[in-house]
Symmetry: C2
Subunit: 455 residues, 2 copies
Amino acid sequence: MAENLVKTQSNKKIIQLLNSQKARQFRENYLDLHVYEQAQIFTELNSQQRARLYRYLTAKEVGDMFDAIEDEPEEVVKYFEEMTPQYAANVIDEMYTDNAVDILAYVPKKDLAGYLRLLPTEKAAEIREMLHYEDKTAGAIMSTEYVAIAGNQTVRSAMHVVKREASDAETIYYVYVVGSDNKLIGVLTLRDLLINDDDQMITDIMTTPVMSVKVSDDQAEVAQTIRDYNFLAIPVTDYENKLIGIINVDDIIDVIDEESAEDYSGLAAVDTEEVADNPIKAASNRLPWLIVLLLLGMSTTTLISHYEGMISQASILAIFVSSITGTAGNAGTQSLAVAVRRLASRDEDQPSVYRQFFIELLTGLVTGLVTGLTIFLIVGFWKQNFILGFVIGMAMMCAITVANLAGSFIPNLMDKIGVDPAVASGPFISTLSDLTSVLIYFNIAKLFMKFFMGT
Amino acid sequence: MAENLVKTQSNKKIIQLLNSQKARQFRENYLDLHVYEQAQIFTELNSQQRARLYRYLTAKEVGDMFDAIEDEPEEVVKYFEEMTPQYAANVIDEMYTDNAVDILAYVPKKDLAGYLRLLPTEKAAEIREMLHYEDKTAGAIMSTEYVAIAGNQTVRSAMHVVKREASDAETIYYVYVVGSDNKLIGVLTLRDLLINDDDQMITDIMTTPVMSVKVSDDQAEVAQTIRDYNFLAIPVTDYENKLIGIINVDDIIDVIDEESAEDYSGLAAVDTEEVADNPIKAASNRLPWLIVLLLLGMSTTTLISHYEGMISQASILAIFVSSITGTAGNAGTQSLAVAVRRLASRDEDQPSVYRQFFIELLTGLVTGLVTGLTIFLIVGFWKQNFILGFVIGMAMMCAITVANLAGSFIPNLMDKIGVDPAVASGPFISTLSDLTSVLIYFNIAKLFMKFFMGT
């Protein structure tokens, strides 16, 4: 906490320098910070202060800082609009291509054409190409700043290439070996270059075959590979195995975080990244799902309404509806969460889908049996009515088994038809399970009605 | 898919070589694989095959492979028990200290003493020390294989140190500069060493002050720092700022994954990492929470039972219970999920807790108003009874507001008293919100009973 306070005060001091137009001192203090901290300060500035900062800093300095900015791309686009087009183009040129593309995807079409015209031809072509890659694929998150060398040279000459490219490449810790047509044929770590003799040939010491991903691969799969192998980066190839980019571990961390936030948000039916400070925005983030679920839930209400006659005869039945729907809903959510995580982890040695259903059926029966027995005893002793207890217990067991199956079946089905199984899946399963639970409950109750109502 | 098939077949071939006791060929094929793939194969072996593998491979080769193993530590401990104590100690010696410690934490006390006696004194002392660090702190996940150099030397001589240590250190891409008492005074990337002139002094080119974490820092905070700054590793210091280890980005990825899996599991009240293939194990993983929640839910049932008289008079009331509890539960879960993620992200510029409650109160009122109005119209037109609609709508609005507040308040409270707010929080909030919703609903209904029951 004390550390944060010190940081806030030194940030204030730096902003003060900007306000009092002390260009030299501002540059000195500001550029001394890590780019992440520079970006944090930048985010706090107002438009007048930003205009001054653009004057005080070079496009390269702003570009480096923008590489570390955490604002939404839409926000960064606004910053570009504040600059002269040439300055903005220079900033874009200095940014890592993957980061620049993330932001340019949000620039209005006519402005984009303007920026691209002002950029060096090669960079503009690269950006144009990367803008085409589909969201959430390897192509969309890859960087084109990598070190590639030819194989027919010595460690010594390779080290010269690495040193020359060291200031531009996003990582120099992997060096990729390519053939004449840019086909990926091997990989070396910088460590390999350092521990091998200067006269060794690259082709003799490189690792081959190279683990790589295809440009159209899903980002979640790329993340899994990097995690499994503890790579710091992985090369991206096109369909002819030509090297076209690399994905760095820091981009993968963002992917892992994004994917898990999505799963989590889905389970709760809310975008958890919502803006912190505005009730109206928060409400409009949450209301659509709430209303959809309310409307879906009306089917349960309508169904219960169908049994209103039974309820008015035996009001005791109404008491246990929430207990049965609630427990079945919880069981369904558990089974769903297990299925969604299993789908997300894409482990290879998993049981087949059919086997998973079978296991989930058995799991449902076991949990249903134990839970049903518990409620049977509770109701039996509480209401001194073991037939009623039996009805409730039986209904709970069946409802749990069905909910368990649905929780496992639905995400697998969604995945098969290409829909992200995480979308609002939690409340959706609860709502569905409410419906089936009520149906099961009242039908079992109807069968035994004359018995538990006693004389 | 085709790729996986090829992999499975080549794995089978390698296991076949082990079965037919072709030691040399086995070594050749097995060691050609990435350690992660070696570990995958190892996991498939039976005890006889493993015994053979220990004979064919050196302790160093097994140690490297164990660094990449993904089995639970308890499993790996069993592998150690299969080896001769000396071989096991050698394997432990060859593993990275952090990985070895993760596993040794699960070794029975007397075996542990045995292994430590067989290890080199220095390594044994290091392990003993690391075993003391609390779970989920920087100390527990740090590695002690880092490169540290003195500042008063040239780039050239520093490069010699790096090359010498290159084969042992977990990463050589950061070089830490320490004073005579091992106090951390600066950091260099290998890139810095490469692009600077050989005669430059280290103290002139190192980055200072160094971003570091304390040994007792929470692993989630360390992860956040590494993510924000895009580091590949971060140094760990003790209370006197002495360098005692580093944390690498690959360990941080595991932390991020672990923490998000915990959050997710908590929202669904189930350990989502459960064993895939055993319904009894799956059921015993899920039953404890199901039963606890069922028992908690009985409070709602008891409460409804309290209103049984009202229900038998106006059975229409029973129909809307599930709609109100369900929607309030969904709203509570949304607000909870937002709060849990906000706590997990530990952003600095967040509104204060009080302000968060206030915002959540307003958010609850807005969502409640819109949702209440919706159900008012639905019920009014459906049942041709706008007073009943008003009762339901009013109850829903109040229930949502309360659920929203609880969803935001409870995780903050849990965090304050040091309990992980993610534990089974989702169903817990639903259950609590059921209780308050029923209370609110029947009390509002009681007030207006004589009006909506009409004549």
